[in-house]
């Protein structure tokens, strides 16, 4: 199981790559969105290590024991965010990132007009920053 520091370092790494692809001019809407989402995911996973969830993977495995149907890990992550008052404040922003990163799976070519420049930039500059800020405020991550 990854430690807090491993999740945090991976999140920072993803954030730096998204920044490189986004600035000064976005060279891939899809990749910036996907990497931004995974940066957020890693920040939240780092935060989980300081909550009763501890490790998402393990939590998911335990949930599956004795149950025929359990949500997928991404859906479980969303549920855990919404269930915790400290995390709930950025549930919508996290959902924006998740939808954007999933879109390429089932949308036809041209969808980047829907998830456009403004979408990508806001995801990175507003949503990801809000997630970090809230986690830091709750002392669930230490932004350095």
């Amino acid at each position: 199981m990854a430690t807090y520091q491993e999740h945090y370092d991976q999140a920072k790494h993803n954030e730096e790559i998204a920044d490189l692809l986004l600035n000064p001019k976005c060279c891939s809407h899809a990749w910036v969105t996907i990497i931004t989402f995974y940066a957020a995911l890693q920040f939240v996973e780092a935060a989980f290590t300081r909550t009763i969830v501890k490790h998402l993977e393990e939590y998911h495995t335990n949930l599956k024991k004795g149950k025929s149907e359990v949500p997928g890990k991404h859906t479980l992550m969303q549920q855990l965010i919404e269930a915790d008052p400290r995390l709930r404040r950025f549930a919508n922003e996290y959902r924006d990132l998740r939808i954007g990163s999933e879109a390429s799976r089932y949308l036809k070519t041209g969808y980047s007009q829907y998830f456009n420049d403004d979408f990508v930039r806001r995801c990175f500059e507003v949503n990801l920053q809000k997630i970090k800020c809230e986690l830091n405020r709750e002392k669930l991550i230490d932004v350095v």
């Binding site: 549930a91 954007g100 089932y106 949308l107 829907y114 998830f115 456009n116």
Partner: protein, 187 residues
Amino acid sequence: MNDQTLVNNSNQSSLSRTLSLITYLDKDIDEVAELSFESNKRFFYVVRSSKYKSEYEATKGIIKEYLMRTVINGKYMDIVTSEDETRWRQFTSMIMSDDELLIQSIEAFVSYEEICEIYYCIEESYVELFILLNNDSYNFELMHQLYNIERLVKRMWDGRFVEFHYAPEKYLDKKFLSNYHIVYKRG
């Protein structure tokens, strides 16, 4: 209710009224739901956890004030408050069939003109709703409103696993929806 298309109701829906109530209250209320099981009477259920017990009476007062300001088709209204979350949930699932829950689930969504089609799939304990949007680009403010409705709807299906998907109609290959049934189509 396969392939049934609902007619859009221009009246404000009960679910959206409930959401208005929540917005109006803007407090740490655990759950609010409106259930109507008599033709001339509406009941608001407010569920609060015991940690907010001290604010409980104050909240009831705020709701009464809201109801006085809100005219809902001239119907009588009553407020039933409960601190017992489990009891309320059991009650909800007892009085509603899957079809009724589905109709209730989409009611607040269809008041948004950006929503053009809604598809669903129900398999035992798994419920999926696929919402198609007709706008040209992702609207953060709109989507956040829809996510808030979604949370309320999920609570109605207590014990069932409910998942929502959203996609722009223009860029979605409809073949992807071949296993879903349509429940709403605008126009």
